[in-house]
């Protein structure tokens, strides 16, 4: 039963990572920038939720946090588009600069305190098929599945989704067809920011104690996810997120027999998996291979 328990826990953690990874991929597909400020945006959203939650209730606070994170992401997008270059290396580096600014401010504000979200699940647990799972994780999985399903529905069935996909495939032609590239960019960044905040809320919930000032680094756990899945594949992001979550939970759960790998190997294991995947398939499991046309 322990294996099943770990697997379920891993999948639930993975669904949270999937949300972060999906945000990365949405931003990458929309603007070809890897948002290195994603961790700070996640933490910004979580910070707003933690500050408001005792006063206005969890749901209202969560909504405010998602809006704050989306606005934060839009601000980053505005800065990125203010640069007079289209070099993605430069633009990605620019987001690192924003991350340094945001992280410094948040670190200062949060100090040594731990952010808790005041979520309705608290530390209750439920027994399913002989395994004991925290309700917060069950909620996280349910919400993630809903959000991811909505994401794919919107992207495949609505006009908005078609506009987004067309711009991701070929921005120049899409612009000529009358699709406003600026709005596409804003939408993809806002979606990315909002998803990050939702993930942040669940990462702070039980069994984790909450988010401390280093939580921005947690968003980096989604980096192996997007590389494993393929940087430009939304399905890949979900798959990669699940792989990372399961790997991390399995390794942490068997820490006693994996002791020779050192303490806290769980957080490093996803990166090892990522390197292995890179050696096997440089563009990820589901990513599209880059073709060179001359």
């Amino acid at each position: 039963m322990k294996a099943l328990q770990l697997l379920l826990l891993g999948l639930s953690l993975g669904s949270i990572y999937s949300l972060i990874a999906l945000g990365f991929v949405a931003i990458y597909k929309g603007t070809k920038v890897i948002n290195m400020a994603h961790g700070s945006i996640l933490l910004t959203g979580a910070y707003v939720v933690a500050m408001l939650s005792p006063h206005v209730g969890f749901l209202a606070a969560a909504a405010a946090g998602v809006v704050a994170a989306a606005v934060g992401a839009i601000v980053v997008e505005r800065l990125v588009s203010a640069a007079r270059t289209t070099d993605h290396l430069v633009l990605t580096t620019l987001t690192i600069g924003v991350d340094v600014l945001l992280a410094t401010e948040l670190t200062h504000r949060i100090g040594s305190s731990v952010l808790t979200m005041g979520d309705p699940w608290k530390d209750r647990q439920t027994e399913i098929m002989g395994t004991v799972l925290p309700q917060a994780r069950i909620g996280a999985t349910a919400v993630s599945v809903l959000i991811i399903a909505a994401f794919f529905l919107v992207f495949h069935k609505t006009n908005f989704g078609v506009r987004m996909r067309a711009s991701a495939d070929d921005p120049r032609t899409a612009a000529l067809m009358g699709i406003d590239q600026r709005r596409v960019a804003l939408a993809s960044w806002a979606i990315g920011g909002g998803l990050a905040c939702v993930a942040g809320i669940f990462l702070a919930a039980f069994p984790n104690p909450g988010l401390d000032q280093t939580a921005g680094l947690i968003a980096l756990n989604a980096i192996p996810a997007i590389i494993i899945g393929g940087l430009d594949s939304t399905e890949g992001a979900v798959l990669g997120g699940l792989i990372v979550g399961v790997t991390q939970t399995l390794v942490d759960g068997n820490a006693s027999s994996l002791h020779f790998l050192g303490e806290g190997f769980g957080t490093v294991a996803p990166y090892v998996v990522m390197l292995l995947v890179l050696l096997w398939r440089p563009s990820g499991l589901l990513g599209s291979k880059e073709l060179n046309r001359v």
């Binding site: 340094v100 410094t104 890179l278």
Partner: protein, 373 residues
């Protein structure tokens, strides 16, 4: 300083080449002589400043060497790396391990002569870069940058857990570097120059300066000559580079290896300056500082990397030193705006501002000033 740097600026139109005058060779030669002469005052610095000032310069020069390696990789070759701190760590720890006393308390060491240990450390970091080549040769640009994060986290894990070699969380001591019994980063045997006692830091100043000059010369040679041209073409148009006969994958692997050699050298010097190394120094934040140096200086510019390296290293240290006299700064750890925080704000803002307003960094600004004068 170099004309090649102009080719590197994304979005920057290439300045028209000025007609070549007959005197240009002589002007060039005079400029070179002036540059070498400007080293003289630098060599006299240890006569006037005490150790607590010198260490800022030594650390600045050490990191400048690492920044030169990164600017070759990111600027000239267009390959982003966030793993620079990993290779700095390999250099630092490999030196500490190879030169360490085998009978030392708690941590192991090979007890090799320290000059040999330094060489081994630099080779080791190059090898580490080469070992990463299956990844670094196949990925390009931003993608490599994100993938290289793996090295930072795996490296951090190893540093904290391979306790016999690295000393774990508590770090390990670094033996001073000596050549033929004369310590280059320690105080024995006693040495007095013009009435000034030359201790460890005074001597290390010269070592760092010499290695920095060497690094600048080596990097300029790579960047300005054939390999540099090939790397730039590879950055701008890999397909064209391939059809011109540039072995793109091999060049990507090679430039990554070169840059890790520079990083390893920086690591050895940093370790010598600190005399004690802990894993908490070699983090993602260090990689980001290195990136900041190359951006502020101007991607691809060797001189810019040196300026950026000195500035980024010195600013927090200087601010900390003057915390008492700068009224607006709080004491470190008091919860207010302290020196470390202010400099982090400054670096973040500079990164954003430079990339938005002048992606060419200091290198382009100084070129513009010179052209105007």
């Amino acid at each position: 300083m170099s004309e090649t740097a102009t080719d590197l600026l994304p979005g920057e139109p290439k300045p028209a080449r000025r007609p070549v005058l007959n005197t240009s060779g002589r002007v060039e030669r005079l400029r070179k002589i002036a540059l070498w002469l400007s080293l003289l005052p630098l060599a006299a610095v240890p006569l006037y400043l005490d150790g607590s000032w010198l260490i800022i310069g030594i650390l600045g020069m050490a990191t400048a060497i690492g920044a030169i390696g990164l600017t070759l990789l990111v600027g000239t070759a267009g390959q982003l790396s966030l793993a620079h701190s990993f290779f700095v760590a390999v250099g630092a720890y490999a030196y500490a391990y190879a030169a360490g006393d085998p009978a030392g308390g708690g941590v192991e060491g090979l007890g090799l002569p320290s000059a040999l240990a330094a060489l081994i450390a630099i080779v080791a970091s190059g090898l580490a870069g080469l070992l990463f080549s299956p990844v670094s040769a196949r990925l390009k640009g931003v993608y490599l940058g994100v993938a290289s994060l793996a090295l930072v986290f795996i490296g951090d894990h190893v540093l904290k857990n391979a306790t016999p070699v690295t000393g774990g969380y508590n770090g390990r001591e670094v033996a001073p570097l000596s050549v033929g019994g004369f310590e280059l980063s320690g105080g024995s045997p006693d040495l007095w120059v013009l009435g000034v006692p030359y201790g460890g830091r005074e001597r290390l100043w010269y070592l760092a300066l010499a290695v920095l000059v060497l690094a600048v010369v080596a990097a300029s040679r790579i960047a300005r000559n054939r390999p540099g041209r090939a790397l730039q073409l590879m950055r701008d148009n890999p397909a064209a580079a391939g059809s011109m006969g540039v072995p793109v994958q091999r060049y990507k692997a090679a430039v990554f290896t070169y840059s890790s050699v520079f990083a390893g050298t920086a690591g050895v010097l940093t370790a010598l300056a600190f005399e004690f190394i802990v894993p908490q120094y070699f983090t993602l934040e260090l990689s980001i500082s290195y990136l900041t140096m190359t951006i502020i200086g101007g991607l691809g510019s060797v001189a810019g990397a040196v300026a950026g390296g000195l500035f980024v290293t010195a600013l927090p240290l200087l601010l900390e030193r003057f915390t008492g006299s700068l009224g607006f700064l709080a004491a470190p750890g008091s919860g207010g705006l302290d020196a470390a925080m202010l400099s982090r704000f400054a670096f973040g803002a500079l990164l954003v501002l430079v990339l938005i307003c002048e992606p060419g960094g200091l290198a382009v600004l100084s070129r513009r000033l010179r052209r105007r004068s």
